[in-house]
């Protein structure tokens, strides 16, 4: 009936490898539903890893960009900002004599500009709403510290009258962000009552002179921006002239590091940091959060690995009779393993590529959501290293999983499955 044995190919191993690859691809193509689900599982694992890693990097990069964009070289604080439940405003700002310090610093040759800023909780009321507590920001009005998107902005510079009171004329101008405008149902030209207490607020009516996203993005909450002196006046801190922090822009030929060191010796009671040190300090403050983020990435990788192994095991489980039949027919363990490894690598490559491709729209969606909720986007960034890492995870996890699973397949006993 037969005409004798066929002869081996010129490169038998290559022929065997190509055939095993063909079988692997045929099996994947045949079990489409299972293949699609497996690819989806790997895609999700890659997405989880890239988005979590991208979020971690995005937070750091955004912080760095914000600091760079602020154009400040040196940051001065009086230590941590503390809550002051018994005081007006709810915060205990720790820089005392802010305007005097501002003047002193600006006389230095190595300092081009200094900007004192204060944050206080204030009561805000419009004609159409009850009192709301919002963050009041005291800021200088010149030098582009506040970016105005609608309206004319402040008409006068910040003025300070010390010795316990503010006896001069107040501008009674306020700049608000869009969320505050929506919340209070006001626009440019309307009035808002603002004060550290409702009593003070009743006596201080401010005109909205502009809409600005500058501080709401920074704070992540609705805010009202007043001239620093006027915020101090309506919160009762004019006498002590308190501010939360001061930022300095050094002269063109000055070294921020050297200026900071010099100031530190001159003002030992203040914390003085360069831009980079300030960012590091903030990141150190967020160490627990960052550790949690890192743990999430690690867990995502572990979950991805477990998921991939599990999916591949399930994939193999459903094919074990086929593998047993192949073994019974004389197929070697190495060919069976090769078939499995090829399947795993195809699944890993497709799942990894899909995961990387879907990372872009997913990151864009998350950034838009973040913009909507907290006021600033770019929370998730996807540098090439993260994308390459995501793909490598899928590929390596599939390879490792297939090697682990192929050990089981190599030991398969045909009689147990046929």
């Amino acid at each position: 009936m037969t005409d004798g044995e066929p002869t081996p190919a010129r490169f038998p191993r290559l022929a065997r490898a190509r055939a095993a690859t063909g079988i692997a691809l045929s099996q994947l193509s045949h079990a489409r539903g299972r293949t699609v689900l497996t690819v989806l599982g790997i895609t999700l694992a890659v997405l989880a890893a890239t988005l979590l890693a991208g979020t971690g990097i995005g937070v750091i990069e955004t912080g760095q960009q914000k600091f760079d964009a602020a154009g400040r070289d040196v940051w001065i604080t009086g230590g941590p900002v503390r809550f002051s439940p018994t005081g007006v405003g709810g915060f205990e700002n720790t820089i005392v004599g802010a305007h005097e310090l501002d003047t002193e610093l600006e006389t230095r040759e190595d300092v081009r500009a200094s900007v004192p800023m204060a944050f206080q909780t204030v009561y805000v009321k419009s004609n159409e709403t009850d009192y709301q507590t919002l963050v009041g920001v005291g800021s200088p009005t010149s030098g582009g510290a506040v970016h105005i998107t609608n309206g004319s902005g402040f008409s006068t510079d910040d003025v300070h009258y010390a010795n316990g009171n503010y006896s001069g004329p107040m501008s009674h101008e306020v700049v608000i962000d869009q969320r505050t405008a929506d919340m209070m149902n006001v626009s440019v030209g309307d009035s808002l009552s603002i004060g550290g207490t409702t009593g003070i607020a009743r006596q201080n009516e401010f005109t909205v002179v502009g809409i600005s996203p500058t501080f709401s993005r920074f704070l992540g909450s609705p805010s009202v921006v007043l001239q620093l002196s006027e915020l101090q006046e309506v919160t009762g801190t004019t006498g002590t002239d308190k501010a939360t922090l001061m930022t300095l822009t050094v002269a063109d030929d000055a070294d921020p590091q050297a200026v900071a060191a010099d100031l530190e010796s001159e003002y030992p009671s203040y914390d003085i940091r360069t831009n980079e040190e300030q960012l590091k300090e903030i990141l150190r403050d967020q160490a627990v959060l960052m550790a949690a983020g890192g743990s999430l990435v690690f867990l995502a990788l572990l979950a991805g690995l477990a998921l991939t192994v599990n999916i591949l095991l399930s994939h193999v489980y459903h094919q074990q009779r086929e593998f047993a039949a192949l073994k019974a027919l004389g197929t070697s363990s190495s060919t069976l393993s090769l078939t499995l490894v090829v399947q795993a690598l195809v699944l890993g490559t497709v799942g990894g590529a899909l995961g990387v491709a879907l990372s872009f729209p997913a990151a864009r969606g998350l950034n838009e959501l973040a913009e909507l909720v907290v006021g600033f986007g770019d929370v998730v960034v996807l540098p090439q290293t993260v994308l390459a890492g995501g793909f490598a995870i899928a590929f390596l996890m599939s390879l490792l999983s297939s090697l682990a699973v192929s050990r089981r397949i190599a030991k398969i006993r045909p009689l147990e499955h046929l």
Partner: protein, 252 residues
Amino acid sequence: MADSVSEQRSRPAADAADPATALRCERVAREYSRGRDSLFSRGGDAPTVRALDGVSLSIATGEFVAIAGPSGSGKSTLLHLLAALDTPTTGDVTVAGTDVRSLSSRQRTTLRRDTIGIVFQHFHLLPALSARGNVALPLIERGVSKRDRRARADELLEQVGLGDRAGHKPGELSGGEQQRVAIARALVSDPAVLIADEPTGELDTETGQRVLDYIEQTASERAVVVATHDDHVIDRADRVIRLRDGIVVSDA
């Protein structure tokens, strides 16, 4: 019954060194463990079942042998031993002059690849591959080129009457056609031994007869061993070995 148990046991096995002897069993026994009485029991030997007990036989090239017997008589166990899918607890099994017990699992796989063609009762064709791909499977391990594999598979499929069905997948073939594909797959490497387990068990009479025709045609070039309940197979075999309770009760 042609031979008694005592007669069978005294029947001399053929000489393994004889080139005409394709398969040989000598005082073969196979025991299986039933496992422990309970999950928490400790120590002691697990109870065993003796599926084969002192079986001796030899099958020459060119013989078409049917192994018959009721369910549980040891037919499949004997077939598995002859196909080098299993090893005996005691005794010796020799396939084409090679002692199976002395082989590692890998060596037994190689022995099956080079020497034995197997036809399963449930076919066990790979559903993802075409009839041609299934038939060509055993040639992959031999490193045969794709072109040669294809030509060889087509040749075999033509011989079993499925030349026009080569591109169809198992799911598109009838039971009889699938069994013929399985036979073609078993023969594609031109093995010295063909082992078939209930090859007509899932087929209607007419299709079964056709399948038997194909098996019978191959018997002149190799040893063919078929485990069966089917009287049609028994009628057409050169020799019938009957088993009961793991013992050969007749061999004629």
